[in-house]
Amino acid sequence: MNERLEGLRARTRDGHYRRYRQPGGPDLVAECNHERLSWPRRMARLTRRMCEAERVVIESDELIVFTRTLTTVPPVYSAGDEAALTVGRTLHEGGLINNVCADWGMALGQGLLGRRRVARETRDRMASTGHATVIEFLDAAVETIDAVLALSARYATEARRLGKVDVASVLERVPAEPPRTFHEALQALRMLHAVVWLSGHHHVGLGRLDQYLWPYLGADLAAGTLDTAAAEELLAEFFIALNRDSDLYPGIQQGDNGQTITLGGLTRDGRAAENPLTWMALRVARDVGLIDPKVNLRITGETELALLELASDLTRKGLGFPQYANDDVVIPALAAHGYALEDARDYTVAACWEFIIPGRGMDVVNIGAVSFPAAADVAVREGLAEGATFQAILARTGAETGRQVHERTAPYERLLWAPAPYYSALMTGALEAGVDHGQGARYRNLGIHGAAAASAADALGAVRRHVFELADVDPAELLAALDADFVGHGALRRRLADESPRVGLNESAADNLMRLLYDQLADACEAETPRSGAIVRPGTGSAMYYLWLARGRDGGPLAEPVVGATADGRRRGDPFGANLAPTPGTHLRGPISVLQSYAAIDYRRVCNGGPITLELSDSVFRDGESIRKVALLVRTFARLGCQQLQLNALNAERLLDAKAHPENHRDLIVRVWGWSGYFCELAPEYQDHVISRHLYADV
């Protein structure tokens, strides 16, 4: 990080660029109504007007430009008209396609003029056959392409006027034409990506950056026109730029914006995909030390230890990434769920952890959660009241899981995506087929979280141990204690909590129950066929449900059931573990047993992702020898056949101090559920959960 980059980084963090922001935005409804535009044309008009309204911002020390100045994305219909248009349909998170990944390599490689030619060719081919919707989609896409070209031209003109010849000459080339250099490729990507945000989409992933940018970097390095240091500086500037506008990007919490990259892995034809840019991106992410882009690293049990050591050095920064995905497990799981092998090998990680296919995926990876604790709770209560066997209670848990899956899935029979002419132009085959990505993408599956499995397995394990095996707990007393939230039943609560098998200790009594819960979830998903050709993908994540399923959702409705006290001794309102993590408060021995517990899951059946979440004290990262041990731990995760891993390095004392004195810890970054954010910008309940995870880790 040289002085120029330090300056860019500091200005990004101190809100310097907000001075360029414009209040309000273009008013589109009147214009669109007046012209009686169709929905696709309105969406194209939105992209165009946003591009036109953007003010050009070029600071004197920038080599990669674009700063967003518009703070809001205006509607294209009045509220009433939109309601009428979408009545009876399900709009996922606002209805604009999101949490997918463009085919960035293709879009860069063709340039926007290339994409426009494709659109025109398809239009010519289809014109005679009278496909009005096809023609309209393609015309809309061309309108957006022209808008981006015009915006880039304005940037080029301004750069020329300012005497910034290098920036101007890059922008006179890209994103119109294919990039010739790494610098041009990064600038083109910056512009193409920023306009997706500008068009109102969210969780805009960047995919396999080391794969699609390496040809440009490799060529520059081979030609001697760029050296590694200069390349790292450009990449660092690009990474910093991703943080410049991110406060404008919507998410559940600040930082939850899905600007992820995925490094390493396999090529589409099955060769090792890791290249020098894989290493460079890890180094640069470490040195820049900002929350975007969030890094995913694809590994196997045989990944070179030196790469894992570099990645562990990034973990040491406390950013909560990289997150690891195990190709040995993920690719077969995707293939088993209907993904073509070459597409499965090409997976990237969505906003949090879900595996999606760049350019080809329009999966809704988060339609909601199944609350395993609620399913187990219903089964335990009804089963004990009726004198059922433990096997019958397990069967009822499965039925309850199935009922929840069906409830979450049913509304998605009526899923409706708003037209996305611009984003579609960046996807594989949309312009070629003349079909919007929302309708024409190859993979349009649904993903569901199986949340808080550890707590449910613990509860079922406690019931089996104490009611059925030892018979030292009377079922009636247990039911009364659950109803009373254990008030007046303290001894029973301690027995359930302290003298029962728990997930995270490598005890088959608990781990096999957890495996069963996910098998039941997979069975339930297989039983659902919501739309022709679509499947429901079971996953192991929790997103924010580790709090919502325990406490309800502040200030909003929640479709999922909220559970009270549970048979593992957990009291009403106590949070669950995030993603694949043992129940908070479990006295763990450490990460080996946790990984062994989670190796019990049959990951072939759960392909929607969701990481094992491990907290390590930052004292673990003291020197090269200990970093190497962290790398060995990561390799152990892969060799045990687990699917995904999130490693967090933090210091509990620093978190407590940050909560008390946020002014001293403005830059403190933590991993929340599937993403990293600034600790001081989190709502208190999320802060408390992060703190408690680290306190337990340090005990």
Binding site: G585, R589, I592, Q596, V620, K629, L632, L633
Partner: protein, 254 residues
């Protein structure tokens, strides 16, 4: 019927990266004959189980294991430890105080790399039994002056030095671990004396200096105990590697 050997353990911790090579699991034996005023594991002092109180609730510390039970627990992860350059460390408290149990557990773990982390204070037979079974010994050396040793640890250091000498006899490699306690163990005189003693040991691997950590007193309230260090905690320890370097000894600061 043979009597089962049992031992009392106050913690089993995995991924203890400062307790020896590779990925290790450390078994903390409960109970210690010494009473070092700087001890940061007060729950390891008393042999009996006790309740620790904290904002996260009470928990009973100290669990009695049968040797076979603990052996089985560790065996479940032995292949992971072995394939990651690591193994098991027996620490404490003081493993020598439960030598028979520890030896029996080690015998159930063939092929697993064993570190015994000891104060060196214990009977000769106990020490021989464990040192013989260890691949590496972590041997604490605190205070060389016998009077000062008694004052700061409550015990005589003669058994410690006798056991240290046995390592050469057994041919067991060891790392000498020296806690740097301000004004107590970190004096030039004491460090020079330690260097002189270990320099003559043929199986010495290196010396680790462990600077005193201000968090040492943190767990005393939870144990219902009062931390009375008796030295100035605020004074930074004298991290001086020169006495060891001069004696030609490899030294590291942890």
């Amino acid at each position: 019927m043979t009597e089962l050997t049992t031992g009392i353990v106050f913690d089993v911790r995995e991924f203890t990266i400062h307790d020896g090579p590779g990925i290790r699991t450390t078994v903390f034996m409960k109970g210690c004959p010494l009473a070092c005023t700087w001890c940061h594991n007060p729950e390891g002092l008393d042999h009996a189980p006790q309740v620790m109180r904290s904002p996260m609730g009470d928990r009973t510390v100290g669990r009695r294991y049968e040797a076979a039970e603990l052996g089985e627990l560790i065996s479940r992860q032995a292949s992971i430890l072995e394939s990651n350059e690591g193994g098991v460390t027996f620490s404490g408290g003081e493993p020598l105080a439960q030598a028979r149990f520890v030896a029996e557990v080690i015998d159930l773990l063939p092929g697993v790399h064993i570190v015994v982390d000891t104060s060196g204070f214990g009977g000769k037979d106990a020490f021989m039994a464990l040192a013989r079974r260890a691949d590496l010994v972590h041997f604490d050396l605190k205070v060389m002056d016998p009077v000062a040793h008694r004052r700061w640890t409550g015990q005589d250091n003669a058994p410690v030095l006798r056991n240290l000498a046995l390592l050469a006899e057994l041919g067991r490699p060891f790392v000498a671990r020296v806690p740097l306690v301000p004004g107590v163990t970190d004096t030039n005189e004491n460090l020079t004396a330690i260097a002189a003693v270990v320099a003559s040991q043929p199986t010495l691997v290196r010396v680790d200096l462990l600077p005193y950590n201000r968090a040492a007193g943190g767990k005393y309230p939870a144990c219902g105990m009062t931390f009375l260090p008796g030295f100035d905690e605020d004074r930074p320890p004298n991290v001086d590697v020169r006495p060891f370097r001069r004696a030609g000894i490899e030294v590291r600061v942890a």
